[in-house]
């Protein structure tokens, strides 16, 4: 069930350049049912900026009713959000969407988690949950440059972690797709920029792959039809899925990206 709640900020820290880790307390943490779900945050007290910001949940703790998000401070909205400190209240709608299916991989099998930039955060909770059920987890995380890298140590706790940077300033130079070619896996979960998702979908059409998509959203609950994507190339076929309420996670091939 989706709730709208004024959530108290427990902590907010800059964990890499312009990358913020925000932990809040919320009753609706009990309603989170999978890694990869997201929340919709009202960043302004007034009317500007008007729309909520969709931000993915990077980890949650049901016992303490807390969850954490990691986001990049980029535009007007996230800049306002980054100004909030512990004890302050923020208006959050959540949990929203459908997350990664952890039951698609069994104990003893290997899951490859591939993240790009600000698509990395939801994979953290996924890694935690897969590890807990005995799945071997391998991470491949891509960033622009060294100063943008975050959570390497945290991911290492759960499994092998390969870092790539576009400029080669940290880890391996290049893209995540260069690294995953050399790895074997039973199931692949990924979140990141669309070109990366496309490349992965094409490379592993014969494998079990789950993608988390990003799209500009209005309402976040499926009412406004802003974030739809087609499910077929046929001109006459107008079937579609909504990223916010049918996704954001889809099986590769389920929607056109």
């Amino acid at each position: 069930m989706i709730k709208k709640e004024l959530c108290k900020i427990i902590s907010q820290e800059e964990v890499a350049k312009d990358i913020f880790e925000l932990t809040v307390e919320a009753d609706f943490v009990n309603e989170i049912n999978a890694p990869g779900q997201f929340v919709h945050i009202r960043v302004a007290k007034g009317l500007d900026p008007l729309l909520r910001r969709p931000i993915s949940i990077s980890s949650f703790d049901k016992k303490n009713s807390q969850f954490t998000m990691i986001y990049r401070k980029e535009g007007k909205g996230t800049t306002l959000l980054a100004d909030n400190g512990p004890g302050m209240l923020i208006d959050i709608l959540g949990p929203l969407g459908n997350g990664f299916p952890v039951n698609e991989v069994n104990a003893g099998e290997t899951a490859l988690l591939v993240g790009g930039g600000i698509g990395v955060p939801p994979l953290y909770e996924l890694s935690k949950q897969l590890t807990a059920k005995g799945v071997k987890v391998v991470h491949v995380l891509g960033f622009q440059t060294e100063s943008a890298v975050f959570y390497e140590k945290e991911f290492l706790e759960y499994g092998d972690t390969y870092i790539t940077t576009v400029d080669g300033s940290y880890g391996k130079k290049g893209f995540v797709t260069d690294v995953i070619k050399e790895l074997d896996f039973d199931c692949l979960y990924t979140c990141g920029p669309t070109p990366m998702l496309k490349a992965i979908e094409k490379q592993y059409s014969h494998k079990k792959v789950f993608l988390s998509l990003e799209e500009r959203m209005g309402c976040g609950v499926g009412a406004c039809f802003a974030c739809v994507c087609k499910t077929s190339n046929e001109a006459k076929d107008i079937s579609y899925k909504k990223v916010c309420s049918d996704g954001p996670v889809f099986r590769a091939g389920e929607v056109l990206i």
């Binding site: 008007l50 709608l93 500009r216 609950v221 009412a223 406004c224 039809f225 802003a226 739809v228």
Partner: protein
Amino acid sequence: MSRLNIQLPGLNLKNPIMPASGCFGFGREYSQFYDLSKLGAIMIKATTVEPRFGNPTPRVAETSSGMLNAIGLQNPGLEKVLSNELPWLSQYDVPIIANVAGSLEEDYIEVAEHISKAANVHALELNISCPNVKTGGIAFGTIPEVAKQLTRKVKEVSEVPVYVKLSPNVTNIVEMAKAVEDGGADGLTMINTLVGMRLDLKTGKPILANRTGGLSGPAIKPVALRMIYEVSQAVNIPIIGMGGIESAEDVIEFFYAGASAVAVGTANFVDPFVCPTIIDELPMLLDQLGYEHISECRGRSWQEHEQLTYHRA
């Protein structure tokens, strides 16, 4: 609730608050937040004869105190709306206003004829003002004579009263309003969105795939108020006002301008509970302002009246 009830052609509203078309789907998403029977009415998403996918994404872009959208009338088509959406909505005690859209005159007539027969459809909203479709839509909403003829033809086939949704993207909105009144419209709904654009700082290109979109939200409220102020003095049919409403205070302002009921659009995206919140807050605001019934607020901006004592109650 007797302080908020309003009678309009075809509509017996328990309160004058309804979600605006296109901002509420067919109600399903918001039914998880509250009981839809609480609403005065529901303006459902525009329905066309055939299903429509709409425009490519990005379909929304943010603006100062507002947003641009170019959804492109995505909807499942007349048949599915009649077989799935309206029967589902009939579990709620709420009148439905069906938004009718199309490209050609005969499209509007076909949708109007069939959808007006549905038991829970109490009125039609003729969408001659969508800025996001390439043919039809807005063409019908910018030429008075064309709008009048379409209104007349839809009136001939409709079994329920017909409200015409006016576009603000015209030189003279009063002329448009009078034309559709002449065509037999039972009421007006206004305003639809204002055509606008935003550009991406890095690429220099429009953010919306459709290039332009309809501006909505608090940014357009003053335009809506001015147009309702002008039109309500020039016609004898009621107006359902809309354009940036997000609070009980806004509702009263629209009544002052000349609206007889209001619709809430973009604000639903910001706060899914906005409609029931406004409905709950209105009686307290009426107390503060010294009105017994919300209808006393209608048209005060242009009516001669003695000054009411503030905090009379």
